[in-house]
Symmetry: D2
Subunit: 332 residues, 4 copies
């Protein structure tokens, strides 16, 4: 049984709290949040203790620290937890600055603790099934990966300003997925992008509609299409084309109800957003870290995975500025 | 906050325990099971107390008794809980004997306590959505209901012997669904059935493949097809045809992964069985009782719903014996 | 190269004329119709001659007579063509009277000429593919056949009066399909039916909504659901459940265009009616007769198939009158 | 009634011959082919005359010349037919050389005759329906177009050598589709491509797997993915994302048969290749030219459309050479 301390009791922290409590191998013991009522409510529901960071770090019974706080606290908390010798789960991203990520990962390496980054889609049963089929060779050699990812509606311009922009905030999930499915690092990144959805996003200097093409040395190609808007719900689809066929993950409808009337055959829209669509993934992702702690299996996605995805996002930004294909940068 | 006592800590009791614990308005306080280790494990996981029936019934803090024990204990436990003034949730069926059901429901009426029967499918979001669309008039007047229900594999002949047979054990869910969707009581039942799946089921005097047709006074018809076997998984589909269109609930695949290869386009099978397919329904059904207790909304499915479904199952059995359409019996 | 004479240049005759002209092994040489302009137009388009029945029957160059005239002329024309030694294709039905069908088939047997009945669905590539998969044993032993067949809109009451009613006019296609898929003659027929669609159909003494259950001696069951109305288009679906799986034929949408908007994911309706849905079947069915003439393969559906389907339709009518399962009648 | 002369009686010429014969407003009168037996067979089947080019051009009764001969004869035949005052249908491409296309179109303009280019997909009912929905504003403003186009298997290296390569031979259909759906000329083209399918294609200097991104001045983006191989059949899909939703065209399966077994739910593969998938489009495309001749509606796709698509293909080639986004060239 592993004892977990949760740092951050907001929306995503509450999701993790429920999943920690329901997991047969772990239990939620401490909750920290700068907003005390949130920490209290969550602690009460699951029989955990409201705690300070020091209490978490100094408690030898805490095995795992799960970081679900604001993005700009991630790197500091990872380093603190690493120095305290805790296994760490951290929501993405480690940080928006490559340099800060590098430093943080160096600290984790030095402390020699496990670190898992919350690229939750790797644990979605459909996507994980696709990747497994790929590894099994069910469609031969991979040739082309296409990833469609559209949010149901644009975030506020305020959010956009601090998010790191489309590529570092939203595309980064797709970049991680592309790397995971290509099983090879891209050597070239080209991005086309426009501001079509929201003039305020444009005013904030960001784009909202994008196509990013990644090419590998072997000739494998991946293409990601993104939009900050999809009136029909959260659009999350993947195709992998190989020498012997295609593997695809389709959208998940809100229900299986279908209405056939004079106007057409009307199925339900895809689930609204990530909390619905990736509910299973959130439930399953912690399992990867638990597996590592129990059986020594490799952790993924690792801190290194987080760094590589950020390098690709930065290359996409540079491609957008220059109109050229860009080689993903070497680390700082 | 409602305090719930769970009677029966087996497979289905464990499902309900998790859902009770996760529900924002209730909490699991007592667990009873004739097999002590099962009760202890469940009580430990959710911070409840292992209890005897008397402890449950005499505890004024227990608001709801959830009965998940063996079928032949249901009627007795319902009556005991009713006399103790508890709100009651009971897994189907109340009993296999019409006479015993009648007596049990009389006791409940006398005690004037709420009783909800676990026809879980009414709470499946797809099926509930269908029924709501129907009530909204989205396809005009109902004309024909078709219900497909196939288990992935036949139960043991031993189970079959005590189950009440196909109609009272399995079809009864479909009969309840038919009543709910027809919104009118059938006046005629005709059944065709065969033993094709398992010679031992035949030897036990039961059938495993069936078509049951229900006709209402208004002319509405419902047809149910059942099988104890479906190699491709749990087959649970509904269609309702109305004057202005059709509403349908499709099967739910295990994942959305699709493989296109030289042999064809291969989608995932339907979810394996009821625990997977109706996971959401199990999670949601208690909500109906909670709603009643909080807001006074009507309870459904009620004990009366349980009785009516049994009357239809018995009529189907008689039709099978006689080769004629049978009018569902008056109550004993 | 086979020379074909077409009797009847109406809507369905025109379909056959085009298919005859396009077939690599036959050519349209004569056209007869009581309405001269129809015959002239068709003859002109395909370079055929307008002819009288005598001219058709006395022309030794005519190999095949294709009968697409009014139902009440079928039996007479079949007999005349049979006596003239022609191979015969006749649209269903041979006749609405069992006695007349029997006499007509006797004449054909005596003349020893090939006779094919236009149950076109057997030549639909999807349905023919299903039957072939069944024969190949791809789902093991057949257990249950379900056939859904709904017209987009009710015919006029005038049509209904002369059509022989729902069972002999519309269900007969489904009864033929059931026999073809069961690969065994039903020994019991039960019908439930209502008049819900059109009061004039009811006034004409017919039903418009029906469920027919067929049972075989081996225990195989087939169930047919029919309606004279389906606002979402022509509903033509089949499922066959076997010991190792299910084979199904889905509806064919008008196009593959799908619109995903805030209201849902809207696919196209099924093709409007039989001329669209079974366009391929009409094109392919003559091929069965040509194959027989070229290679001696068995003809199906034969006159006997037409008779057996009528026997089942009559049994369904009797079941409806009596409320009992009926054994299909022996021949008159 | 329009009289059509067919130049080229090969595979695609035979398709057009059948469609011309079946069209209510036209008739096939002359057939020319350098291979006499092909011309003779086709002429005999449809009652047309085998002819020389001069006979076609000098026959005042010939209204339309349909050019289905080898690619390197297209431009010469278009010019000859234009000078003879005929309406012209020509299979794509006009020519592989931009300069030759320019000269040819100048001749057509001078002769002031109608010229239609066989980008058949514009007449596919699903794709035409999508474009119409787009024009109707059903999904608001267009933001992103994605086109998936994969052949079932790679052509011979010999074919590749004379075809103009992937972009000018295969992608050109997708480039025309992109222009038609964007309703705006792209100002920037970026191509990534690899040789993964066939070493001989690589040896011939061509690619077989490609992603092409087109950007418009307004910010609309289109992305095309191509492969010379798809083991699961001809993959032809389109998505258009707009401010209010998505319109998509799915693949068309060979039949609607679906098999559900222990291994999964197996649907049919997409239709094998363009002759099957675009059978309806071939049948309908001539109608555009006939409409123009009867009612003066605009012709599309025009010679200009052919030229613009070629300009995009050439820009894609240059992008591939340079690794940069390329502005489509001005005309020579």
């Amino acid at each position: 049984m592993f004892n977990v301390a949760l740092l951050g009791a907001g929306r995503i922290g509450q999701i993790h709290a429920g999943n920690i409590a329901a997991h047969p191998d772990c239990r939620l013991v401490r909750v920290m949040d700068v907003y005390a009522p949130a920490a209290q409510a969550l602690a009460a529901k699951y029989g955990a203790q409201v705690s300070t960071l020091d209490q978490v770090l100094n408690d030898d019974n805490v095995d795992i620290v799960a970081i679900c706080s604001a993005t700009d606290t991630h790197a500091d908390l990872i380093e603190a937890a690493a120095r305290a010798g805790k296994a760490i789960f951290c929501e993405k991203p480690v940080d928006l600055s490559l340099e800060r990520v590098e430093r943080c990962l160096a600290t984790v390496r030095e402390a020699d603790v496990p670190l898992m980054i919350g690229f939750n889609r790797r644990f979605d049963p459909s996507m994980a099934g696709l990747q497994q089929s790929l590894v099994n060779g069910e469609i031969g050699n991979t040739e082309l990966v296409t990833i469609s990812s559209r949010d149901p509606a644009a975030p506020s311009a305020d959010y956009v300003k601090t998010s790191g922009g489309l590529f570092r905030d939203m595309t980064i999930h797709d970049l991680d997925m592309a790397r995971w499915l290509l099983q090879e690092e891209p050597v070239s990144v080209f991005a086309s992008a426009s501001s079509l959805v929201d003039p305020e996003i444009k005013a904030a200097g960001d784009v909202d509609t994008a196509v990013i093409t990644l090419t590998c040395a072997s000739g494998k190609i991946a293409v990601i299409t993104n939009s900050r808007r999809a009136s029909y719900g959260y659009d999350q689809r993947i195709e992998v084309h190989g020498s012997k066929g295609m593997l695809a993950v389709a959208n998940h409808p809100e229900s299986s109800l279908i209405k056939s009337v004079a106007e057409g055959v009307v199925a339900q829209k895809p689930m609204h957003f990530f909390l619905q669509r990736y509910g299973d993934a959130y439930r399953l992702e912690l399992g990867g870290l638990i597996e590592h702690l129990k059986n020594g299996t490799a952790i993924h996605p690792s801190g290194e995975d987080g760094l590589q995805a950020l390098l690709l996002a930065d290359a996409a930004l540079e491609s957008l500025r220059t109109g050229k294909a860009v080689q993903p940068g070497n680390r700082v």
